[in-house]
């Protein structure tokens, strides 16, 4: 059967990418201890805004937040 509606695939892939980005952006718990050597944290790479996929992801997450606000009252 030919693929006539790519929307579910695109939407699902974007969801997965958003979930992954959210997991990666979580702050790491502070490590303390005698053997802990503080390293200089690398600055996180900024999201490449020139990539249209990233821009779309940001739009989708903004609209989703609005939706969540509405559905959660």
């Amino acid at each position: 059967m030919p693929l006539t509606d790519p929307t579910p695939i695109i939407y699902q892939n974007l969801n997965n990418a958003l979930d992954l980005a959210e997991r990666n952006n979580k702050p790491e718990p502070e490590k303390k201890g005698l053997l802990y050597s503080p390293k200089v944290n690398k600055p996180k790479e900024d999201v490449d805004a020139s990539n249209p996929m990233n821009r779309v992801a940001s739009y989708v997450s903004k609209i989703r937040n609005l939706r969540n606000e509405i559905s959660n009252g």
Binding site: D5, T7, P8, Y11, P52, V56, I63, R64, I70
Partner: protein, 161 residues
């Protein structure tokens, strides 16, 4: 009954795309909106208008999935030469979210089209149960065809007479 693939009788005939002069179709000329932002600037005011919103909610209440509505919208715009197919693919998730936002705001129930396909429809389950019942119903057994064999007397060293 298994789904038998049907021939696509309404498909275009080979060479049909060459029956019009190149560039005569809207999608063969440069698009009106080249970027995703331009395309969204075209879609969002349309989706926010009262007329379109009312029609959209009617369609969703009829049970048409959100993904199908979003895809139809972008495909129509591609055919009108508003934007390219690529921009249409980029606009799809945003359109889907926007439509769901409008439906949530109006507090109507809708189908997203992203539901798990493994869920079986109720009618399918009923049909399967009916078929199963038919196959397992006790049928009249033919007359006893089992031939009783004569009891064989045990033989052997330990046999009791």
């Amino acid at each position: 009954m298994a789904d038998i693939p049907q021939p696509l009788l309404d498909a275009p005939i080979p060479g049909q795309s060459l029956t019009a002069e190149f560039g005569a179709r809207p999608w063969q000329s440069p698009p009106q909106y080249a970027t995703i932002e331009e395309a969204l600037d075209y879609y969002i005011p349309r989706l926010q208008s009262d007329e379109v919103t009312a029609q959209l909610l009617d369609v969703l209440e009829m049970g048409i999935p959100v993904t199908v509505v979003a895809n139809t919208m972008q495909l129509g715009s591609v055919m009108e030469g508003k934007h390219t197919v690529d921009v249409g693919m980029l606009a799809l998730p945003v359109l889907t979210e926007l439509i769901m936002l409008i439906a949530d705001t109006a507090k109507i129930k809708y189908t997203t089209g992203l539901e798990d396909d493994s869920k079986l429809r109720g009618s399918l389950i009923d049909r399967a149960v009916e078929e199963f019942k038919q196959t397992t119903e006790p049928t009249e057994e033919p007359e006893d065809t089992v031939v009783k064999t004569e009891e064989q007397k045990p033989k052997g060293l330990m046999a009791r007479n």
